[in-house]
Symmetry: C2
Subunit: 242 residues, 2 copies
């Protein structure tokens, strides 16, 4: 059987080998959830970028530019990181240059380690993602984006939920994946309750985030496609349904 | 209320501030458990050391030298890292120079970050440890030694067990502590069952470890003292009962 490892933070990547493996990047609140919304709206491709300064340059190349830091939109950018912003039909066919506190950084770091594929994970497409991972049939690494290189609850919980869908085809390789699956088993019937106790949900409350991004991002299987990296871009080839 | 943070791996220490805080170093299988056994036997002090080469030099200074790497005793040393070795009455009054794969490294790294105090944590002294932490009344960091800079289950589970004893006096600050407490709540009645599924317990099985170190290290409250760092040494001033 193929194996599953889970990494709690991009800061731990140097202790892992991604070569030849499928990597799922997980930033439930909110980057990888928001990317799924964007592709559902019909965005053409997304360019993940490490810094707002670099991201801003792409305005001159006919990109929509989007930047979030510390859970808020960066001034001077077209868009932030709330999934609701990405439901705007104006975005259909557009290209987006995107930088976020944790998610786009995790994607860039994983890419540098030459995995077989990088997939975009969220509750919004979890079943399609699980089915695609099974088809790829490679060892699997679940890379949680975390929060500023620290552990976060919602990414690990999603890792556990995804593992639960894969256990007929994969075996758990490390304690991080084992614990994530335990966490999911304990909270599978009240995911929102435990995520509302997480530090990131509390951060939204402190920031008076108006939209209910937490509830939105915890919905399962709104979409049946799986965004993936192709070169420098995130695209949506597999299971495209919109 | 004072706050509790939990760190899964010494590799994540650069993202934390330990100054002015109580730090508990946790290496359940086996370094911090074994240190407690050593003090129960009457060892005078323990010098944690990063490398076997450096550790060996202390043989000339009337130390017992102990070294473990990859779960086995390093050839040429007096002792390894099994708790049963440290029950030998010959050790009473002796000084030990000690190097292990994960635990002594975590202690050395924490010390460099100038915390208020560094305490040695294990199930063997968990209640005494909790009471001492409450008396100190400082923000608390639980530092899991992990396995070669990766997450391990048993250290996090112990962190959750310790948090459970502190919640009347401390509040959970981060998602790592929250998840550790969830893990403990789920497995508090069958700790040994889940630890036997951990990668380190499996490692012992592969190595044909003859003694049952796992069962031994999961016993609660054999001892009512709390080893702590004093300068370069680990000593046993508090609650000394042997």
């Amino acid at each position: 059987m193929k194996k599953i490892e889970l990494i709690h933070s991009p800061a731990l990547l140097p202790w892992y080998n991604l070569q030849g493996k499928t990597v799922v990047v997980i930033d439930i609140l909110r980057a990888t959830s928001t990317m799924c919304v964007a592709f559902h709206t019909g965005v053409n491709k997304i360019l993940p970028i490490a810094s707002p300064d670099e991201c801003k340059m792409f305005k001159d190349f006919d990109f929509i530019i989007a930047a979030e830091r510390n859970a808020v939109k960066v001034p001077g950018f077209d868009m932030g990181n709330s999934p609701f912003e990405y439901e705007n039909p104006f975005l259909a066919g557009k290209n987006i240059a995107f930088t976020t506190t944790n998610g786009t950084k995790a994607i860039k770091m994983a890419k540098a380690m030459e995995p077989y594929k990088i997939l975009i994970g969220s509750f919004l497409n979890i079943t399609a993602l699980a089915n695609h991972i099974i088809t790829l049939d490679k060892d699997l690494v679940l890379l949680c984006a975390g929060w500023k290189d620290k552990y976060n609850l919602e990414d690990t919980l999603f890792g556990g939920a995804l593992i639960d869908k894969l256990l007929a085809h994969f075996e758990i390789e490390d304690d991080a994946a084992l614990s994530a699956h335990c966490l999911f088993l304990q909270y599978q019937n009240n995911i929102e309750e435990i995520v509302r106790k997480s530090s990131h949900a509390k951060r939204f409350t402190l920031l008076h985030v108006q939209t209910d991004d937490v509830s939105f991002c915890l919905q399962q299987d709104l979409y049946s496609f799986v965004p993936e990296m192709d070169g420098e871009y995130i695209v949506n080839y597999f299971g495209l349904t919109h």
